[in-house]
């Protein structure tokens, strides 16, 4: 007899995966569990050597990224706390159980409640969702703070930004995140949308705790999708063809001031000041998680 339910494949041929037989790590190559993300691609765009050190060599280098470290740490912690707070809210925890008492969290929370991102779809509100799609022989992954979807109609990606200043529009547009997020949603969001998503049905919103009434709303389009595909494929293709022993170091040493590898590259001693970092870069700095390099959080 042939079953038809979740185990219909039971009668088929067994295929055995002996995981010790494949995916051996070879020096100079991306590791087998690697998937591209906005963080790794941003690293590559900022400095190829940084990409090599972080993702190919998996080198941990515990120098400060920016100074004062104490403030940097607080900044990271507040960012994490705010994301958690919003996640709790979106998951339905009663608002009276959430009110934070300390600033800046209390201020941000107030801003979020009074000036939420405008005109969000209401049917589905999915915090902390991850999607991925194949691209150039690898997977490209995006982890969204919030996907708000009216299936079949429109989808909005929301990213909460807790940088101290609102970055100018051109800085935001240039970030890899702006390319990766809508691209991945358009490619991999079908099951959430109920049918394939046309790029025009996607908006990306950056919401700034420092400027809640002035979010950056970025509509998406088929043209931009095609450009993004070419751009992202090009980047990955480039990464896969580099075979230098030491990948090129970035020319503009400004990046090195906020890079933990500066001692290894002989690019300076003390970490750059938090006050001088671009808001967009400041944000990506905390968004980076070591988990991107290795396995997902366990």
């Amino acid at each position: 007899m042939t079953p038809s339910g979740p185990f219909a494949h039971l009668d088929g041929e067994r295929r055995v995966i002996d995981s010790s037989q494949d995916s051996m790590v070879r020096p100079g190559q991306l590791p087998p569990l690697f998937q591209f993300s906005q963080n790794s691609l941003q690293d590559y765009a900022d400095c190829r050597r940084r990409f090599q050190l972080r993702f190919i060599e998996g080198l941990r280098w515990p120098a400060a990224r920016s100074e004062p470290i104490e403030e940097h740490e607080q900044f990271v912690n507040h960012g994490v706390d705010f994301h958690l707070l919003v996640q709790r809210h979106l998951l339905g925890i009663p608002i009276e159980k959430l009110a934070p008492v300390e600033n800046p969290l209390a201020e941000w929370w107030d801003a979020y409640l009074h000036y939420p991102p405008p005109d969000l779809p209401t049917t589905l509100r999915l915090p902390e969702v991850q999607l991925s799609t194949p691209l150039a022989g690898y997977r490209l992954m995006a982890k969204f703070d919030l996907l708000a979807i009216d299936p079949g109609e429109r989808a909005v990606i929301v990213d909460w930004k807790t940088s101290r200043k609102r970055p100018p529009r051109d800085q935001v547009l240039n970030r890899l995140q702006t390319h990766v997020y809508p691209y991945v949603l358009a490619e991999a969001g079908t099951h959430l949308f109920g049918r394939p998503i046309a790029p025009e049905q996607i908006n990306l919103i950056y919401w700034f705790a420092a400027a809640p009434t002035d979010p950056e709303i970025l509509p998406y389009s088929a043209d931009r999708h095609a450009e993004n595909r070419a751009y992202l494929e090009g980047l990955i293709g480039e990464i896969l063809t580099i075979d230098d022993e030491i990948w090129p170091l970035v020319e503009d040493e400004f990046h090195c001031r906020y890079c933990e590898y500066r001692s290894l590259c002989d690019r300076g001693v003390r970490a750059g000041s938090l006050d001088e970092i671009d808001a967009a870069e400041e944000e990506s700095d905390w968004d980076f998680e070591w988990d991107d390099v290795e396995e997902i959080a366990f």
């Binding site: 067994r14 055995v16 995981s19 010790s20 494949d22 925890i93 997977r139 959430l192 001693v269």
Partner: protein, 704 residues
Amino acid sequence: MNSHTGEYSGEADPRTMLVEGPFGVGKTSFAIETLFTWLSDGVPPENILVMVPQRTLAYPYWEALRGADYGPLGSVDVRTVNGLAKDMVNIYWPLVAGEAGFAEPERGPHFLTLETAQYAMADFVDRAVENGEFDAINVSPQQIARQIVDNLGKAALMGIDYRQIPDFLTGAWGPDRPRKRVLAYQAAGRVADAYRQYCLKYRLLDYSLQIECFTRLLRLPDFREAFFGARTHLIVDHVEEEDALTHTLIRDWLPHLDAALLVYEQDGGYRVFLGANPEGGQALARDCEGVLTLSESYFTSPGLEALLDEVAYSFNQPGSDPAPEGSDLAFDFAFHSYYPQMIDWVADRIDHLVHDQGIAPKEISVLAPFLSDALRFSLGQKLDQRGIPHVSHRPSRALRDEPAARCVLTLAALAHPEWGERPPQADVAQALQLAIAGLDPVRAALLAKVVYRPGGDEVLTAFDRITPQMQARITYVVGQRYDHLRDWLVTAAAERATALDHFFSRMFGELISQSGYGFHDDPEAGRVVAELVESARKFRQSLYSDQSIDPIEIGRRYFTIVRQGLLAALYVASWRDEHADAVFMAPAYTFLLRNRAVDVQFWLDVGSVGWWERLDQPLTHPYVLSPNWPAGRIWTDSDEVVRQEEMLYKIVSGLIRRCRSHIYLGLSDLGEQGYEQRGPLLRVFQQILRRHPQPVEGLEVSRE
């Protein structure tokens, strides 16, 4: 239904299924196939959860899910139940914090690791030790803390109040054994209570409180509905390694699911110390609509099958028969008088296998009951000499034993005279040698001797204050580097409010990883110091973020516990290690849970009782503190023997099943510590050799 390689029994079209079989019959492959079938059938990936008992067992799923050949995908979560529980408690904290008795529940929780939990308990233990409350047992305060932390976790898994633990242990101890032990159980109970109140006060969540809060959450109808409703499809791999509480969770979950596949490995259940309950795992078959039994091994050769038969027969397994006479058992046994000879033999054999027989290094594993640093080092060195790459798994090496960490800690002590620590001169010499490029051990010792002034106003003297002859011997280049290091430490010492982890980061980035210093191009040092930074940060943030204690004092406390060896390096073998083409050296138990087969295994110290004996843990008990043990029943010596035999059989048969071609057994008359070796594993192989005589390297005849 008679599937390709297995026997199926159950409903025609099951919604839930348990697949069972020993290692290597394709259970996980079937689970992965099932996962992808569900995805192809249109099950939203977010609705699928894969649970595994530990990270290493998630690799096959990650590999499959991260391959580019599968199209667009949402995230299929591959999690441990502990990771899931911790996440749920973190997110839904506002729903449980008050009810669970935490002070200031509107503020966030702090999650403790095993080490930070032990530290949080340390004061309570120390006081009890000083009062003589633990005189009846001969273990260190750290061990006492560790065992009490374990007990709290076990109580959470058993679903009982932790205050009942002394009664459980007393019941199993019985009335006829020395009463002093019972007093120690009671003292442990008091410490547990004081520690628990402390955790509640500062919202510190150790493993036990994470589990208790998660259990509490599951009792809230809204949460329960949301949690069970969030997934429609579930795969649980290695249910035999999960604890009873997880089995209950799965059992409660099953009716809510559209489909579930549970994977049970016969002969598994190695994680007894973590509450593994193989019987409970197998019992889940009764809750499933179908059971698929797979039995055809994809890995083991006829010679190893014959060895498995022999081992089963030696352990009196029901229905077992010895292998037919003349069977070619796929093992070799070599005897050596001294331990180093055994290590040479292993290195030579591996050399032959790799260079003459073309076996890939990653197809070779070297296994021992424990992997000491000495073994790792000496064998590693010999393999290096032969040009053979190797990696080792060191699950519990203390941070203080890592040279890079020692160096950083010593320099930290020099920059923090207010700690009152005076590192020995030899440590300072070693730190200088590692930190300053171009400084050899002899000159480092000289330098430390002339510049180090423990207790002086200036802990380190400037280079220009030492005699010209000495300056010349040390060299001026090194002298300049030393002066810069000294200046840096003096400046850092003046910045009093710096957290220790920040100090480490700055010192690493601005000083010792700069050109001219020892860590400039040293990835291993980078990794170790990164761990140190992370561990110090967790220590500070989890234990002290709600207490207004001077960062200097927090740093001093951290320094003290690292020096005591309490903090283990967090290092777990990464995928880089797991996948490198290198000989893998590991404790047998670690290798088993890696769930991989290799062509060739070396078993070292087969005479060691370490293959058999449980750690001596007088204040806890993995079998008694389990839902399977009837409360009040006395744990007897014969219970001990039965359980140890069971475990040894599991280990030995599990290892054989994870081998494709050949096993080499190494024995030295005197073990690593110089003791004579006559453990039970040796006796098993002596029996086998009697039934199937074969030449033993190093002996004329077998030693029976």
